[in-house]
């Protein structure tokens, strides 16, 4: 404990000059508060644009008809559920190496949103699978590894909530985040590595997308909306976490005074 405090004071001088100064909770708290509403409005705007294109501009698909329109939430949600887990693992690694408390808080602020997107991808996938494949669910490598991702999210949330001591819960959560990150490339490449019922990727970095351009634009707008939404919600959530964790500091006392005066 003493060791950790010493390292932090030792870094204090460097922090003011580098990017690391944002790692100080009292610096990040107001920034997150100012940025979150902008991201929320951006998400709303992108979502309206994406849905408009998805439902009124994008044409009917040649083999699936109208049911393919589930893609405008299914794919962005699935992408987001994988990205968020990688970002959580990144913050967990940063937290373990640099001993920055804010990194662990960011990881914990992201987990519920990642779990939500993961569930959405499974739910919409099931509703999409019934009319196209002829089944809600199969235990192929893609679907099974995505279900495992949901359990990893829930395990992370349960574990970090269950351990009282915040330093220990941060570390335990970080281990799940890092170990579970191995599952993300497995989900992504499962359709290439094994025979799966799930089709391959329509959009990838290595080749031209196999989608009509208006369909693609609608899907990408929805993906950007999901990004902006994730920023907004995780910033709001991390602000509550910061207040709780830093409640013994002067600046939180000042913030609480200000909030009371405003109310």
């Amino acid at each position: 404990m003493m060791n950790g405090t010493e390292t932090e004071t030792e870094d204090g001088t460097k922090r003011s000059r580098s990017l690391l100064r944002f790692a100080a909770p009292q610096v990040f708290y107001p920034i997150a508060g100012r940025l979150a509403p902008w991201f929320a409005w951006l998400a709303a705007g992108l979502c309206v644009a994406g849905l408009w294109i998805g439902f009124f501009v994008a044409p009917t698909d040649f083999q699936q008809g109208e049911v393919y329109r589930v893609i405008f939430i299914h794919v962005p949600a699935a992408w987001m559920s994988m990205f968020i887990y990688l970002i959580m693992a990144f913050w967990a690694a940063v937290g373990l190496v640099m001993n920055t408390r804010l990194s662990f808080m960011m990881a914990q602020a992201l987990a519920p949103t990642g779990a939500m997107f993961c569930f959405v991808s499974l739910w919409t996938g099931a509703l999409w699978g019934r009319p196209t494949w002829g089944t809600y669910w199969v235990w192929d490598a893609r679907l099974t590894s995505q279900l495992l991702l949901l359990f990893l999210y829930l395990g992370f949330i349960a574990l970090t909530q269950a351990i009282e001591d915040s330093r220990r819960s941060d570390r335990a959560g970080a281990i799940i985040a890092l170990v579970g990150a191995v599952n993300v490339p497995i989900i992504y490449f499962s359709v290439q590595w094994w025979n799966t019922l799930h089709q391959g990727a329509s959009v990838s970095l290595t080749r031209a997308p196999s989608m009509a351009s208006t369909m693609l634009v609608g899907m990408l707008l929805m993906a950007l909306a999901a990004w902006a939404y994730t920023f907004a919600v995780s910033f709001w959530r991390v602000r509550s976490l910061i207040l709780e964790r830093e409640r013994h500091t002067e600046w939180v006392a000042a913030e609480l005074d200000e909030q009371e005066a405003r109310a």
Binding site: P59, N99, W133, G134, L178, N195, S202
Partner: protein, 148 residues
């Protein structure tokens, strides 16, 4: 060594070990992760004997026909190298079509006929307007006429 670089080293080696362990486990379970076998694998005798398994491939063009009872459907599934005849009683998914992907679950009879208990359609990752598909079909036809 600074404590920070030491932690980074430890973390890095732990992650490397973990990745290696997962790679080993995955290669060991390779067989169980296979959702379906291809007709070629079945022909080579790689499919499990005596229990239900799945075959995935393309529904052979012109192979779908209904039996006299109106419920049983016969078709053939192919990976362009080998062909497996399939018999199935039940309703088919909307996307089940000749020339399209399908996955059938069931057992292989000694006479080589696959008795399916479940038929799933496997669609590809292409999404395009109906008109575009029509244009592609026309282009295909034109190309075939030229070849002939």
């Amino acid at each position: 060594m600074k404590p920070r670089s030491k932690r980074l080293m430890l973390l890095g080696s732990a992650v490397a070990l973990l990745v290696a362990a997962v790679a080993l486990v995955l290669s060991a379970f390779q067989q169980n992760l296979v959702f379906f076998h291809t007709p070629s694998e079945v022909a080579e005798g790689k499919a499990p004997v005596g229990r239900a398994f799945r075959i995935g491939g393309m529904v052979e063009e012109g192979s779908i026909r209904r039996e006299a009872d109106g419920l049983t459907v016969r078709f053939a599934i192919t990976d362009t190298a080998k062909i497996i005849p399939v018999s199935y009683r039940g309703s088919l998914p909307d996307l089940f079509q000749e020339g399209k992907g399908a996955v059938v679950q069931g057992t292989l009879a000694p006479d080589g006929l696959f008795h399916a208990s479940e038929v799933l359609a496997k669609h590809d990752e292409n999404y395009m307007p109906v008109e575009a598909q029509y244009a592609i079909d026309q282009a295909h036809k034109a190309a075939q006429t030229v070849q002939q």
